[in-house]
Symmetry: C2
Subunit: 200 residues, 2 copies
Amino acid sequence: MNINMGRGKQKMELIADEKSRRTTFQKRKKGLMKKAYEFSTLCDVDVCIIIYGPSKQEDEVHTWPTDPNEVKRIVGKYYSITKSKPAYNVVNVFDIMSDRKRRIDADISKLRKAFYAAKYPTWHQSLDYFSNYELDLLLNRMNPNIEALDRYTVDKTHRVKLNIRNVVVVVDLVGRSMRAGQISNFVLKRSLNQSPFMVS
Amino acid sequence: MNINMGRGKQKMELIADEKSRRTTFQKRKKGLMKKAYEFSTLCDVDVCIIIYGPSKQEDEVHTWPTDPNEVKRIVGKYYSITKSKPAYNVVNVFDIMSDRKRRIDADISKLRKAFYAAKYPTWHQSLDYFSNYELDLLLNRMNPNIEALDRYTVDKTHRVKLNIRNVVVVVDLVGRSMRAGQISNFVLKRSLNQSPFMVS
DNA sequence: CACGCTATTTATAAAAG
DNA sequence: TCTTTTATAAATAGCGT
């Protein structure tokens, strides 16, 4: 056996050698994950780490926690915290929408039935968090029935309009029992690199 | 001086004593951040850490990188990677929308002018990333002029519809020169805990 | 390339100031 | 309560199998 030497401190800069860079990536990724786990356990705090592998492979993403739902939850919390304070001119939806609501109610009712009939009971839950990920799932679930749904909505004031340029529009017409101020929930998702898709 | 002892390994479980838990939180947070920095530097990878403080204070969120835009960028990447594969029935927007586009074009043109006149040049940039955070900023900027904008959109097919139940709808009518397939960009943001707001 | 090994450097729990 | 110190545990870079 040789005498080991030269494992000293290294400069804090990009590791030039690709081989050792990959090795270091693996080791330190593991270390970071472990630290996150310990930190979370010892102090009982929400921690989330997202790491991208050095390759261009899209599937090379590593997270802690592993569960995408947890990642989403923690990230969502971040967004709700860091968002700028709304400075809206608040309009009383209840009053202004009242007559429009009446006009739309009948249609909504039909739509709601149609949608429930389509058996997407998880939708409500999905909407409880702002989540690009979940909206995607939702969209995928909806898609087979969008045409049918659309037949109900064509030419209605509240219809789904369109999706252009990687902007996908989804309309939640389930309506949540249409309590005051709840006409319908519009959920739109803009995602990059997405195929053109349209609800006409 | 006393002889130091008892700094040994500790059980991997919640630290009962609040005082030392807080101390550990600070120390390990710092350590984790440092690790993330080193990792990112040595291996040139995107890393993002989000940590919530143990208190209930909403502003107790710590991230690495510190820059919210970086956090947003990295998180956005995560979403675009983990999203389920779209299984859309792709419709050729160019064809189907062509005549509707013609009808709408004139209005869009007016709207675009109105909007540019309102001097929100940053909007385009904002739209380059899916970002709850940025959409908030955008919405806040738009708000003072939404009424004016709305006057143009009332009763148009492409008007902003409404926001109910913490779902905020924003319409980008800038139109990006209305190239084929680009009617307009609809941007909707659903954010929790937000005041009722409506564009009627 | 995936594992061990070990010299060193780091991180950090607890004590001290 | 904060800051610094110190003993110990962990992490890990370079090497070998």
